[in-house]
Subunit: 238 residues, 2 copies
């Protein structure tokens, strides 16, 4: 089965968590809005009037007759199908819990540049962004990274993975979040680096996994930019 991924073509965004899972799994997929059809094809799928399970927002994954929305939900599905999550109920829930916590961090990272809302340009909320950015760097970022460091440290199967002894989609997502934070907040990340050696080591190892390394070097990996979730505005990384 060939998957269809529907996501904005110009950014990594939330779609990137899905892309990484598909790439790691070696799954056959087409990134619809980046190939045939473009954004029009995505909007058509989003708004199809007879769609019984209408989605609220991208990313969407079409898998045969299924149309699945919400990033963490797509990963729940892919995790089961491609061995990217444990098979037992406890491990599945724990992996999903970590993914949802990463999703919370992603919202907060996004809101550093859009504290007043996505309906305004960054330029219309620069002052507010500066305050929220400072709060994020000083309080939230260390709290979240400290949390994932603790999770790795307490894994009874060793600090190589967040869950058990094998790679899960939560590891891939933590890689992506660290990469995004490195891009957006290089100074803040450098400042806290020493406190999170396990998180850093996991990031570095994931980047070297052959399917991920190939993907990162390919044109399929969209560079970080100032349209996505993780944006480098030096004034927010003071």
């Amino acid at each position: 089965m060939r998957y269809e991924l529907y996501y904005w073509p110009g950014i990594q965004g939330r779609g990137e968590f899905v892309r990484l899972a598909l790439e790691e799994a070696g799954a056959d997929y087409v990134d619809v809005a980046r190939s045939r059809g473009g954004i029009d094809a995505m909007m058509k799928r989003m708004r199809a009037p007879r769609q019984v399970h209408p989605p609220f927002a991208p990313p969407l994954l079409r898998a045969g007759d299924l149309l699945i929305g919400q990033t963490a939900n797509i990963l729940l599905y892919l995790g089961d199908r491609h061995g990217l999550a444990p098979k037992d109920a406890d491990g599945r829930l724990w992996t999903h819990q970590l993914q949802l916590t990463l999703a919370d961090l992603v919202v907060e990272a996004h809101d550093t540049h859009h504290p007043i809302g996505a309906g305004f340009y960054y330029e219309e909320q620069k002052k507010e962004a500066r305050r929220r950015g400072e709060e994020f760097r000083k309080t939230r970022l260390p709290k979240f990274l400290g949390y994932f460091e603790r999770v790795l440290d307490r894994n009874p199967r060793g600090p190589g993975h967040l869950v058990g002894a094998r790679l899960t989609y939560a590891d891939l997502s933590l890689f992506q979040v660290v990469a995004g934070l490195d891009y957006a907040f290089p100074r803040a990340m450098k400042r806290v680096a020493r406190r999170h050696p396990l998180v850093r080591a996991l990031h570095d190892r994931i980047a070297l996994r052959p399917p991920i390394a190939r993907y990162l070097a390919s044109e399929r990996r969209i560079p970080f930019n100032e349209e996505g979730i993780f944006r480098h505005y030096p004034e927010l990384d003071a």
Copy 2:
């Protein structure tokens, strides 16, 4: 098995989505921080140094040996165990997708009064809150409610439920979100009411379900207040 729910004792907050599912299911549970032990017991559980699956934030549900965090994840678990979600994979994913979309709405409703971050008091971000509140009322609120209206309208089994022909945890959560929005934004909700008759009807029906009606009338239901997610600040409901 008696469940243990760990959540802040003075607010409905995110814990309320779990409480509603437990009440509807008639499950045996103790709301730990509201009874024996109080907040101290919750913090002790949160920070237990040997906890292999450390949680990031409440709510937490202890179910035998399991300690489950993240609201949507707890509902995923309870949905399976108490018949509050379909048994088939497609229906389970769709229910979860709707729950995650409701969770996104909850974040945005919260951020109307805390656009700069939870680390500052409302009084320190009133001006920013006014802007974000307006954006929420005018753009986001109608978009989210219109979405759930559409989901109900397109349900092949009728508009009585979000998923299929039976109650799911997503219905309970939509009830709670509408109740919260009614409390926080009574004027805005009145203004858009005519456009979402199915959402309103679902809310009203859920409130009358015997286990829910009993719960809402009990002391277990904490009143809405200005410490929680849904706060009534008239200046944000202009």
